[in-house]
Amino acid sequence: MSSSRFPVPQGTLDMLILQILSLEPAHGYGIAQRLEQISKSVVQVNQGSLYPALHRLEQKGWLKTDWKQSETGREAKFYSLTRSGQNQLRVERHGWARLTGAVQLIFDEGSAQ
C-alpha cells in the first residue's frame, strides 16, 4: 500500500457512501471497489469500517436493503438510498462545501501574507 494514499477523514465515509449509492444501488463489495475507483486510489477506505457504517446508515433510515442477484449470479445484499437518505446527502454536501470553502479561505489567507 502506497503511502500516497491517505485514510478517509473521520465522518466523511458516511457521506461518500451516500454519494455512491445516489448513482445506483450497490452491495458492500461494490461500494468498496467503487470508492477506490472513483477516488483513483487516492483515498484508502478501511474495509473493516465499511460494514458498520452501512448498518448505521440503515438503522438511521437513510438506506434500504434488498437481497438481489449480483453480476456474478450469487445473491448479494444491495443497498439503496431512501428519500431521507437523499435529503441527508444534500445536507452533508452543503456542509462539506461550506467546510472546504472555509478551509480554503484560511489557506488563502495564510499564503497571502
Binding site: 458492500g28 463489495y29 460494514y51 448498518h55
Partner: protein, 899 residues
Amino acid sequence: MNRILNWLRLRKLESELDRELKYHIDRRVSDLIRSGLPEFEARRRAALELGGVTQVREEVRDIWLTRWLRDFVYDLRFSARAFLRNPSFTATAVLSLALGIGATTALYSLIDQVVLRPLPVDHPERLVLIDWIGSQMAETLGTDNLMSYPICRDLQQQKEFFDGVFCRAATTINLSTSGEPRLTAAELVSGTYFSVLGVSPALGRLFTIDDDQAPGSSPVVVLSYDFWKNQFESAQDIVGRKVLVNQHAMTVVGVAEPTFHGIDVGEVPSLWIPAVMSAEAIPGFNTMLDRRTRWVQILGRLKQNVSLARTQTGLQPWFKAMLDEDTRRTDFSRVSAERRRQFLASTLGLTAAPQGHSILRHSLSRPLWVLFVATAVLLALACLNVAGLLLARGSARHRELSTRLALGASRGRIGRQLLADSVLLAFAGGLLGVVIAPVAVRALIAFLPRNTAATDLEANVDTRLLLFAFLVSMATGFLAGAAPALQARRESLVSSLRERAGTAFGGLSLRRAIMTAQIAFTLILVIAAGLFVRTLSGLLAKGPGFDTSSLISFGISPKRNGYSPADANRLIRRIHEEIRRSASTQISAIANFQLLLGGAWNNPLTIQGTERFTTDRDVHLNAVTPGFFATLGTRIVGGRDFDEHDSLPLNEGGQRVVIVNEAFVKRYFGGRNPLGAHVGMGSGLDVKPDTEIIGVVEDFSYRSVRERWEQAYFPIGAAYSGSNFYVRFRGTPESAYAAMRSVLRNADPTLPIAYSRTLDEQVNRSLNTERMLAALSSSFGTLALLLSLVGLYGVMSFVVTQRTREIGIRLALGATRLSTIWLVLRDALVMISAGTAIALPCVWALGRLVESQLYDVKPTDPVTILMATLILCSTALCAALIPAHRASAVNPNNALRSE
C-alpha cells in the same frame, strides 16, 4: 423502538450479516486470485483488509442494539450482585415495594373487575343506560334506574338513534332441574337482549323478538354456560329439556356463549327467562304491561356515528309526548297539581354503560376508589422509603462512585447504574407483589356484601393485571431511583475525592425533603384510618337499635314453590305455630321485608290529623305480625302493639291500623300525640286516610345501621303477607337452627330455605364496607407509620454521624448534653412540622372523596386530625430521640481525635 425489535430478531440479523460478509470475502478472494495471487495468500489478504470478521460483527451488533441497552443489562447484573451481597438492605427494600405494589395491584384488580372492565360483547362502548330523571309516580320493584316495560317497547321504535334496545331485571327463582328445587339467580330479559348485546349461543338458540309477545306466551329459558357445565354436566341433549321455574314448566332452548355472564358483575344469572314470563318468575307480579310499575333497567345500543348527547336531546320530544299522554290516562286523573307538575318536569337521562349495569358497582365504586388512593399513597411512601435507603447506600458507596468518575465514567453512566439498582429492586418487589396480590384480592372479596346470586369476581392474575403491575413497578423503579441518580449527577468530583470516606454530605437535603414527604403521606393515611375506625366504631356502638343477641332470622318463599297465596299463608301460619311451640324459642314474629338488607318498601303516606297533608318524602314501610317489636326487644312508647284482631279481614271484625316510629312522629306531628290520627297509602287526591295510628315504637334500623328514617308498620294478615321469620331463642344458635330445620322439613320437605342467619351476622354483613375501609385503612396507616419511622431513624442517624465532629467541638466548647439533644431533635421537628403542614391541606382536599363513606364524623374532624398528628409526632420524635441521645453521648476527645 427499532432497537428493541432488533433484540427479538437478533438471530436473523446475524445470519444475514454473515452471508453479506462471506459474499464480500469470496468476491475479494476471487478478484485477488485473478490478479495473480495464490489462493492462500488471497484469503489472508482479504481477511486482513476487512480487519477481522469477528470484529466487524461485534461492531455491527453494537449498532443494532445500541450500547445503551447492552450496558443496561450489564448494569442490572452488577446491581444484582451488589444486592445479593447485602441481603438485609435488599430484603427491606424489596419487601416494602412488594407490599406497596401488591396492595395497589390487588385494589386495581377489584376496581378493574367491578368498575372498569367493559362487558365481553361487541362494541360495548356504544351501550347506554336509559333512565328516568324525576318523579315517575310508579310502583317500584327493585333498586336503581328502574323503568316500566312498555317504555322499553316504545324505545325500540326509536330506530333513528338505536340499533336496538333491551330491558332486564335481576331476580331469584326457585329452580328444579331434577331433584329438589333450589334458589337460583336469574335474569328476566326482553327478546332483544342477546341480539342487542351481540351474544351468540354455544348451543341451541337464544331469545328473539318472538319471545317478546303476549304475557305468558314464551315458557323458555336460556342457560348460562357455567350453569350448564356444572349443573347439567355439559349434557349435549340439553336443548328441549324441561325445567321447573317456580313450579312452572319451561323448556331449555339454548346455552349462551362461555364468556358471557350477564350484564351485572355483582349478580351473575344462571339462566335467562323472557320478560313476558315475569308473572311466573316473580310470584304475585302481574303488572308487566303497566306503565306505572317500574321494575326493569333499560339499555340501548347507539347507532354508529350517533352521539350520546344527540340521542339524549333527540329523544326528549318523544318523551314529553309520552308524559303528556300518560297524564291523560285514567289512572292519572286525581293527582294533585303539584305532583303533576313534578311528573311533567321529568326528563330522560342517558349514560354510557359499557360495563353494563350493576348495583354492586354503584355501592362499591366509591369505597374502592378511596382504598385505591390510599394504596397509591402507600406505594408512594414505599417508593420514598426505598429512595431514602438508596440515597443512604449512595453515600456509603461514595468512594466507589467517585473513583469510577475519576476513572472516566460519565455522570450519566453512573446515574444509569443507580437507576438500574432501583429498577431491579422494583422488579423484584413487583414480582413478589404479584404473588401477594391474589391473596389480597381473595381477602378483599370476602369483605364484600354477598347474596344468593354469585358474584363474578375472581382473584386471578390476568394479563391486564400483569401489565398493570409491570407499569407500576417500572414507575416505582424510576421514581425511587431518580433521587439518587440526580444526586450522582450533581456532586462535584474534586470535592468528593478530597473528602474522607463516610463524611460526604451527599444528598442530605434531598433525604430531608424525602423524609418530609413521607411524614406528610403517613399523616394522611393515619388520619384516614382514624376517620374510618371512628365511623365503624360509631356505627357498632350505635347498633341497629335493638338487641341482636340470641336472635336469628330465616326466610322461605312458598309461592315460588307453586303455592297459591292462600295456601302459602296457611303454610306460613302453621310453620309459625310450630316454631313458637319449639322449646328453643322464646318469642318470634314474621315480617314482610327483611331488616338491614340495604333496601326497604318505600311509599309516601297521606296523613289526616287536624289537617290533611302528604309526607314530603317516602316513608319506609313494613308489615309485621303481633309481637314483632317485642321479639326485637324494642319498646312501644305510646299506644299499643298489634293484636290478633288487627290481622282479621275487615268484614270479620278487623280494622285498618298502623304503628309509626318516633322519627315519624317528630317529623310530621312535631312531637304531638299522633294516636288516633289517620294515614293512607300514597299521595294522590283520591287516597283515603282510613288507617288509624294505634301505636308509636322507638326508632331502630330498618334499611341499614346508618339510617334514621320515618317508618310505618302495618299488620300482616288480610292485606299483607310475609315470610321472613324473626326468632329470639334460648340456648345456642345451632339448636335454634336445628329446631327451625325440623319444623320446615315437617311442613314441606321440598321447600328451600332462602336464607338463615343470626342478627349479629346480619349487622356485620350490613357493615361490610365500613369494616373493609376501617380494617384496610388502619393497616395501611400502621404500615405507613412503620415505614416512615424507620426512614426518620435512618436519616437522623446519618445526620448524627455526619455531625459527630461538630457535636464534639460544641461539647468541648461547653455545650450541654441537653442542648445537643435539642440540636438533633430540632432537625427532626422541622421535618415533622413541614410534613404536617403539607398533609393538612391534602386532607382537606381529599375529604370530599371520603365524606360519603363516613358516619357521624367530618373528614376535617379536629379531634381525629389532632389525635393522628399527636400519634405521628410522638412516635416520630421517639424515633429521632435514639440518634439524638447517641449524639449527646459523643465523647469530645474521641470525636476530635478521629479526625
